[in-house]
Symmetry: C2
């Protein structure tokens, strides 16, 4: 198993990427890493070995770069080179914590869509209030425009991923909608409800409303890329805002409030931990010819470590081959 990694993607790259790789290699002796970035910089951080190959690149993709133009013009960037490595058959999977749009474009246009998959979908693994219970939501932004047939494929691919990679038996699939009954939502979602319920190998349990996402009664949540992206951004924004207000209220509080804040600090930390997504790795681009993982832009070494494990599991589990067999 060979994984191509973009060393220059993410807020704390390449340090956090290299640290994540080193943690991974402490417990793995079978996987090979091909690490793309400026050789002179990388050599200061990591020593090449039988498991680590450094490949020199001269360009870096920034967060503001326009995705498709990046793929076309920054040919010697660490992101594009790592994806091209997979395309050339030199690596089996691809990981980047960089520019989301560029990672998606690299996955779709360089590594390529699986034949008969209409549209690849971006899919994170998200936490619920039930400890140890997660759900996969797709698409959260690979496609702003949506068709009915995309949604049914998302349901199938998400279901296979949850069963295979997370080991969920007969995963419960729900459709993200603005009401629980089958007639709720726009005509697209009404039709999707009917279509998905007709697919025999999917354990479809109807609609889920966005306020119920945390309850943990779905393993896979199917949505279009526009709604999925909006809901995910609302969720992250709200969480960040409340924790900010809370901290602010505690810091600017009275003496007793401050004393109390000191005492509850550990507990608040464990709350943050509960929603810390490092253990879920990154978001997967499902429906392309190899495992493609987009790690969060602010990925810490721990997140990178889990994301590498996730690529490895997908390679090992032959998830991509299962999608190819399906369509």
């Amino acid at each position: 198993m060979i994984i191509a990694i973009d060393a220059m993607g993410g807020d704390e790259a390449p340090k956090s990427i290299v640290d994540g790789i080193e943690r991974f290699l402490k417990e793995d002796s079978e996987t090979q890493i091909r690490l793309f970035g400026p050789q002179a910089t990388l050599e200061k951080l990591i020593t090449p070995s039988s498991q680590v190959t450094l490949i020199n690149t001269t360009e870096v993709v920034s967060g503001n770069d326009e995705p498709v133009a990046t793929i076309r013009h920054k040919k010697d960037s660490s992101l594009v080179r790592a994806a091209a490595d997979v395309k050339a058959g030199k690596a089996d999977g691809f990981l980047s914590c960089g520019n989301t749009g560029a990672v998606l474009a690299a996955g779709i246009f360089i590594i390529g869509r699986i034949k008969n998959v209409e549209r690849p979908a971006l899919m994170p693994t998200l936490p619920t209030v039930i400890s140890g219970k997660y759900y996969n939501m797709l698409d959260v932004g690979a496609n702003a425009e949506v068709k009915l047939s995309y949604l049914t494929q998302f349901a199938q691919m998400g279901s296979i991923y949850a069963a295979d990679l997370r080991g969920v038996k007969n995963p419960v699939v729900k459709l993200l909608n603005i009401g629980s009954e089958s007639h709720k939502g726009d005509s697209l979602h009404q039709e999707a409800y009917q279509k998905i319920s007709q697919i025999s190998d999917i354990n479809f349990k109807g609609n889920i409303e966005p306020n119920d996402l945390f309850k943990g009664d779905a393993d896979v949540v199917v949505t279009d890329g526009f709604t999925g992206n909006a809901v995910l951004k609302t969720l992250e924004g709200t969480m960040k805002t409340i924790l900010y207000l809370l901290k602010n209220n505690l810091i600017n509080g009275s003496f007793t409030t401050k004393l109390g804040a000191l005492l509850v600090k550990g507990s608040l930390g464990s709350l943050a931990q509960q929603f810390n997504n490092s253990q879920f790795g990154g978001a997967v681009l499902l429906g392309v010819n190899a495992p493609v993982i987009k790690g969060h832009g602010n990925s810490q070494p721990e997140t990178v470590y889990y994301a590498i494990k996730q690529v490895k599991e997908m390679i090992k589990g032959q998830t991509v081959q299962k999608f190819k067999d399906l369509y």
Copy 2:
């Protein structure tokens, strides 16, 4: 000014509704309330006066009733009768904290859409992290299907409301989208961006992403009813979940955590207060022939009090007439 109120809508109706009315009447001697509900029940709670008329109704709309069927068949429900009262010219505005779909249907089909308004929109007033700074978001669910022309009208109606009712000078209008640049999102949102920016009397400042809603740099946020409803439900669900987890962590914590929790209790209360929406009244159904307000289902007397004030302000400000003049 005469306001028709559904006494039976909401989790704690009719008690919370009556208590809200009584609070309102303590500081108002010019408004008349026509209160719809079972007379025998209401008489035990409130005494008719020169300002309060009780109108007996025999049916009640439940939260599970199908909206359009309700309007057709529960003709003697407090909700339908109150709306019909406005239609008959006996009242100038309508308030209910009941079944959202039924309130929308009553507003649209009984009170009626303003000529040339393509679709009425449901619009709450929402808090930001900046004290005293709110924004109006529309549509949050009156229309699951959307057309470009609806969105431009939402921008106009929302802008007039923010200026007139909330006294915001030259309100900043933004389009809810999954990216900040004009080319982001699906074709509908790309076109809406262009169209809204061409309307001369709108202070349009481009897209806003859902994670930035709390920042307070928009006065009016324009969105389609599907996305708006999904985002609002995500926001409410996330807030509820974090406060639940927080409480849970504090209750189940160690002795020091519990002691700390006692000390920060006031501060957490003020956090909740910051997001307590009672002061914003209810969500307005904009684009119908009279002020129609839908109060939150769990409205406390304070919320009802503010919602009545809101109906009064809309009647006084002739907001509906301004929309009529515009189209």
